[in-house]
Subunit: 144 residues, 2 copies
């Protein structure tokens, strides 16, 4: 993964998009569509290559949320520090992606480290399960 050496117009456009998308997640296709709507043409290969570099630099995170659909990316923000890290919860029923900041969950990291010698990467880990809303719906259906 080669380092960024030259500054290009495409890079700058992408950075602008990233700042807009802070805290949100997006796919390579989302990026392409965003610029297509603005009548700006950026090749999908360029988008992938730029995103790859940003991932390598730790500027953005790459997730695999859904089974075999596109990868999701997320911009961590200008000053990405450990305190801002969060976990992702993905509802298997409605597909909703929930950002979860919880100190108790950070103890999970400590436990895994201490007891299992494993340092978890919360920025890549996604918890799958069923969200509150879908649980309610399930219970209602059982009542029928």
């Amino acid at each position: 993964m080669p380092k960024t050496v030259y500054k290009t117009k495409q890079q700058e456009l992408l950075f602008t998009y990233l700042r807009q998308m802070q805290g949100k997640h997006f796919t390579a296709e989302d990026v392409r569509l965003h610029f297509e709507e603005k009548k700006i043409s950026i090749g999908i290969a360029t988008i992938y290559r730029q995103l790859e570099k940003l991932v390598a630099d730790g500027k953005i995170q790459k997730y695999f949320i859904d089974d075999h659909s596109a990868a999701c990316f997320e911009y961590a923000g200008e000053d990405c520090t450990e305190k801002e890290q969060h976990f992702h919860l993905k509802c298997e029923l409605c597909g909703r992606l929930i950002h979860l900041e919880c100190n108790e969950l950070k103890e999970l990291g400590g436990h895994l480290k201490t007891e299992h010698g494993f340092v978890i990467n919360p920025l890549r880990t996604v918890f799958y399960g069923v969200c509150t809303d879908c649980l309610k719906k399930q219970e209602e259906e059982e009542d029928d």
Copy 2:
């Protein structure tokens, strides 16, 4: 996802394979190769369709371990009960997949349920991070 109605030879062959692979994970390609070695031909489409049904029935679990490589499947066993559930740890450096059974981690599920109304599916959730061995290697490199 249609239910299984007829019993076929291919189904039975697949079940036999699953029993052999209990506790191990495998891809659709692994299944195909296994039968190819035995001079048994099962179409890859059939394998995918059967695995899909088994996932829908909850007989096997489907994981996405690596970025954009093949999906991994795992047979939970004949009498799959909650106590046998385990989490997966995936080392982002060496690629090792670790099966982790840990009661403390089960408290994680309780916490997510109680505090966040989210019921985690441990059979699908994969924790990404760095394993003990790779951590040691990293530390050794820092000493140089």
